[in-house]
């Protein structure tokens, strides 16, 4: 019930692949993840990459802490509970889900940004590998 549970999901850095590679027997899987180098994974390739990756998380964190200071702990807790409930209404990971409830809660159904125009996941030409993605989601991978 601490506020620290919100901060644990904040990703401040690009995940490093070398530490726990996802191939069989813990060896780096060149077929799936391609050639890797530690420098490529540790350093961001563009100054905006990290800030864009964490933009929504940072914004939520800021809003929730303001709300907590104004109205008390119950306000962000209730909102977080609703978010978690809405986030579970999804299809299997490799299928596109509309996220309607989540969008309504966030208010992103009333605004248009680059995430709606560029790189639309519903229009990508490739689909993720179904078995791998479901295994990843269930934590079996």
């Amino acid at each position: 019930m601490k506020a620290g549970v919100f901060f644990s999901c904040l990703k401040d850095s690009v995940p490093v692949a070398g530490l726990c590679p996802q191939g069989a027997y813990g060896v780096q899987d060149s077929l799936r993840s391609g050639f890797t180098s530690i420098k490529n994974e540790l350093l961001p390739s563009h100054p905006l990459e990290l800030s864009e990756k964490n933009f929504r998380l940072n914004q939520d964190k800021m809003n929730f802490s303001t709300l907590r200071n104004i109205q008390g702990l119950h306000a962000p807790l209730k909102l977080q509970m609703e978010y978690r409930a809405a986030r579970q209404i999804q299809r299997l990971p490799f299928l596109p889900s509309s996220n309607l409830a989540l969008d309504t809660l966030r208010g992103s159904d009333e605004s248009i940004g680059f995430e709606d125009i560029l790189c639309d996941p519903t229009q990508s030409e490739v689909i993720g590998e179904p078995h791998t993605m479901v295994e990843y989601k269930l934590g079996l991978l």
Partner: protein, 278 residues
Amino acid sequence: MLHTLNPCQEQNGGFCFENSRRNAVLESSLSEGTNKAPSARKTGTTIAGMVCKDGVVLGADTRATDDMVVADKNCMKIHYIAPKIYCCGAGVAADAEMATQIMASNVELHMLNTGRPPLVAMVTRQLKQMLFRYQGHMGSSVIVGGVDVTGAHLYSVYPHGSYDKLPFLTMGSGAAAAVSVFEDRFKPNMELEEAKKLVRDAIAAGIFCDLGSGSNVDLCVITDVGVQFLRGYDKPTAKGQREGQYRYKPGTTAVLTKTETPLSLDVVDECVQLMDTE
């Protein structure tokens, strides 16, 4: 476009930075050689705006440059945002165009949600928040002007996200030339015709004194009554008509004497040469 790192993670929309490392390597290798990497087309502009008695007058030139070449002689730099809010964009042409289109869509959604006409301050706030989010990588400087329920307002927003609220504003590469005209002749609460002439003069100063601006002057007059978009309001760089000619009319010089000498020529030699036309 697979994420090389984790193919199991879902893809989000928005900007994808996968190729930025490859692009950095390509650019550094290109800069050493003879070829140059393509650069974004900038508008190299003069845009200006001022608040007058009844509303706002916005003006812009119409030249788009690509480094040292004129890419477009008659481009439109005044963009629609809301029925009574227009904005002029300078800087990278694509960034300005995209930013203003996104703003227009957001304003329309906001209007449908709240049921009220938008405020110029709302447009400015959304624009500056978006530009600050991208830390100046979105290189578009914008002048937003319009009339709303609180009156006529004029804001300028810089690429990094700062903004100014002033009675008259200029931006772009020809801003210095245009602002000099404003500083000389601006008075608060000017009449509409006088204001139009002043903005036209300011843009013309930018057209003649700045290499990045040229062609015609576009004006946009926004008042409580409505909007008047005057595309091609003035063409100061149009070629003039020739008033007269320097050629002399035949018969100007009087003929005093005339001498005719026939030259009798004899045929000396005749030879035929065939051309190789196969």
